[in-house]
Symmetry: D2
Subunit: 330 residues, 4 copies
């Protein structure tokens, strides 16, 4: 059977999902909801999808799954609406900036028996999947430490910072999810430090731009996360996992493999700069995984619970950075 | 204006070009000619193209360009037919295994004023384009030596070897083209050595499986090409250009960036193994370049003359390997 | 003038310093104090040094400098004795495990006007010196974050753990010194987490074997230190410094540069495994730096104060790991 | 027993061997012959060696081995003199620029039963030894191709070029030796191309500055050697060996492991620039191997015959470059 998809929102991520759905066997991009007429028309021209409003989509029998790519503050409402409408739901992270609101929405998901996948795209990056595979194959042995480096080329617009919930909830949340995934255990203790080093205006907005976090599980496994809103050399995305037998490390992706050597040394190009380029394959893979799980009835690889837990870690990290105390999760 | 495309042949390369044409703004995949009904139907289902025979395509007013993806021994005839029909032509290399036949076909192209691009896909590989850009930017200085490593993961089927014209005309021909492109001068002298080291049966078929070639231009610039039909670690494709100011080197592409370290050392995965994966972006780029040149009237990046010159180098290399003498091109 | 040197202790480090002194122009290895007769005789045979006891050395007019390579619990006493004797002093770290005892010894050094260098050998590693030079040259811009990875191939003997003062004072102390050196500011706040993951017996001895530390200066610069007593792939010693203009990173040193590729991938050898091999050049450089500073009267590159501050950070880290609170240094 | 060594010549290489002999257990640097008084005195001051003339050394009962580090045109005479004097001989390459003169000297060596090692230092480089070990361990399988890149940072003085015998006999000769060593078979056919691209004056002196060579054994194994007198990025010394099971590749050594990343990309430092730095360990290892072979009576790792064969390949390459024909060795 071919899965009929609707996409809510034709922004950057909505477009990426449109490409992915069109390229995924077993899926068909049926309908789009997008308030901006020009953007909607462009998507229709490219993919031949119908244009419908959200309520129409909820009522569309030819739509079995929706991809929620709207602003964050609409996610929880839409999850509830489409869970009740009996649709499978793929929702961009975060579900909401309030853990309580997330819990509420997840309760609805549970009551309705809806299937919900949260878009932690990095779990579907081919390099990070190889790291996970090395763990699962036993090449790393028992995992002891995870070290995650995630540095953005530059800070987002101030307007985004004002509504993003802060660096821990907007940026580190990806790393919290990766840490949980690779540690294979829940985090018990969170320690964090935050600084404003890139742009003082970010501090005036009440946020940090440079943070480090130490996570610790009940058995003592640890993860270290380093985040910055500045990386002049491109989008720095690395993972190391250390264990009793060895280490698995995912390196960065450069713009090309070319190295130019001269009297000044050997120079490689900067890293891929834009997250949509860096994670292009990951976006395609996550939709394929969603479709595969729906079509074969298997478990979804990332759930609403994953979204909630990452948010709880973000809240704890903010608390620790503000109080200077380790926060123990209950 | 949107360029209407027909593809002749729905094999591996025909499919790659279908994907590329569909993704290229300003181009539309209008019609396919493919004798195998199942393959033709599948392409029609995916892309909505018409199915027409070759003569119909030659007469189709909605087709402005054709991509010739049929067996090599049909290339020259089809080039002549479509040149006379006034279509722009993208032809997979080689134009023909006989240099005389190539000259004949190119004469027709010239007489008709047709536009012909020959598919030397590697010139459109992002890494090799970066090497060329480093030369053009002056980072390498005056080019002195080009070193090309090209090793296939394994030999092709015997049936292919029997009709391919031999390793120099089938495999090294790509490297001859790259060498000409990067040297920026025509080759004057060719020296080659051939061996049978991978499979004695290849020798029985009259071919080599391991060759080295030295090219030399009139001003003394040199290129070295190393080819083998065996590379257990993947598809080995590297280029170095040395000049008066420095070197530019394109490294290989591995399956992932992950390195696993343990008591036995640090292990990276093998190289991308399949040429369609390794050069996926190159195939897309060459079609985009063809479309761009047609739409803006600019020069085609690779011409029939490039196809002829690479073939002449292949013939010379075979001669040198057989006679043990440097062959001087006239 | 040639500087006459005495070495106190003919163990592993004493021997390294003997090699370094002999190879340093402007220095001469005059006398050794070593209670084990066989070890003393061997050094005499190799280097032609005199064998004298400690008090004799203190009274030797042909000795201008001493290298203290005896067990840690003798360092403070020896520093005081040789400071009073008017000798220049090179002392292995740590000065003492008690910060109070260190302060006391440093007071004597100050009163006597003696010159004291503490052996933080890593500051003299050529790779780490290049990182520092990149900072000093402005290539990194304003330093924002330092990331230090230091993992031992395996844990030390239990007997050493019992007297070492614990992982923070014995192992991390090197990284605290490097962090201070590269941050270019004093640390104000210390957060640490400790686990026992490698060997439960280490926990029974009251120590950790796996720790992570976040340091923060008054202006918000941060350093992250990752330590483990286990690295199956060799002695893992890396540094990254991130700043407003870019990053400087020192990679590991492998046993050789050779990579072997086959069907299983590309394999490089493990890292240099032994700290005396990894830091061979650093040991030579630090003695050369000591000699140079004494001979030209310039400042010593690492002082007793550096030893004290690193120890204070170790004490703070232990406190933080035990209490789960950030420790603010006064 | 301790082997008493005399060194003939206190130049750059003589000094390197003095360091190596002094550091090698089982060897003692007894005497030096050096016509320049200042150089001789300096060596005596450093190592305490006697100063003797060549005939005295030949007669010295406390000298069992000599290291010939004098100008090339004296090597053959000195080999003959010391062979007759019953000394073991370590001679820098080349034995002579004339293959006939080499044969003559080797005849004397054979008649006297003297032990002669020729200083092909690169066989003792730790990285190249690892490549050889990978072959010997079977990791490469049957060797098929050897690819050697050897590029000097800059050309030698004109005076040296005038007497060196030309690039093939002075520079490529090292690579010929390495090729023989790694191929594990004698070379049967030589093809070479030479150009003058770096400095026209080199051409006026009758030499090339940029050459490529293809070697072929009777079974078809091939080696490719690329040489240039120019490498702006340092002393470029790489080896690849390809075989039926895989590849072993020795990479270059950079000045440090540090990479600096910024908006312009990632920059590593140039390569070690000076052959004495690049091959420092190789020089030490070859003396240790010579001493070990003499002390345990085992075979010498490089013999006069190796010196002769490398010279014959150099002569053949020059012939091929001049005639444009493959030269078959008899």
């Amino acid at each position: 059977m071919t899965l009929g998809f609707a996409i809510l929102g034709a922004g950057r991520i909505g477009q990426a999902h449109a490409r992915a759905i069109s390229a995924t066997p077993g899926a068909r991009f049926v309908a789009l909801s997008e308030p901006l007429q020009a953007a909607a028309d462009d998507m229709k021209a490219r993919y031949g999808c119908d244009l419908r409003d959200i309520d129409q989509i909820a009522d569309s029998p030819d739509v079995q799954a929706v991809a929620i790519c709207t602003p964050t503050d609409t996610h929880a409402d839409l999850i509830e609406q489409f869970a009740k409408a009996g649709k499978a739901i793929f929702c961009e992270k975060p579900v909401d900036l309030s853990a309580d609101r997330v819990r509420q929405a997840l309760a609805t998901v549970e009551q309705t028996g809806a299937r919900l996948m949260v878009g932690f795209n990095r779990r579907f990056d081919p390099d990070f999947m190889s790291v996970k595979a090395a763990i699962d194959d036993g090449q790393v042995g028992d995992v002891e430490m995870v070290v995650i480096t995630s540095r953005d080329p530059g800070p987002p617009p101030y307007g985004y910072i004002e509504v993003s919930g802060g660096i821990f909830r907007d940026m580190t949340i990806h790393d919290f999810d990766i840490a949980r995934w690779l540690l294979g255990e829940e985090v018990q203790t969170v320690m964090a430090q935050g600084s404003v080093l890139v742009d003082p205006k970010i501090g005036e907005l009440g946020d940090y731009d440079s943070v480090n976090v130490i996570l610790r599980t009940a058995t003592g496994k640890q993860a270290v996360i380093t985040n910055s809103r500045r990386a002049t050399y491109g989008y720095d995305q690395r993972i190391e996992v250390h264990g009793s037998r060895g280490m698995a490390a995912a390196q960065n992706r450069h713009e090309s493999t070319v190295e130019v050597a001269g009297a000044g040394g050997y120079t490689r190009p900067p890293l891929l700069n834009f997250f949509m380029d860096r994670y292009a394959q990951a976006y395609a893979n996550e939709i394929a995984a969603f479709v595969a799980a729906l079509n074969d009835g298997g478990p979804l690889p990332t759930t609403g619970s994953d979204g909630l837990k990452a948010l709880e870690l973000a809240d704890a990290a903010l608390d620790s950075a503000q109080t200077g105390k380790a926060v123990v999760l209950t």
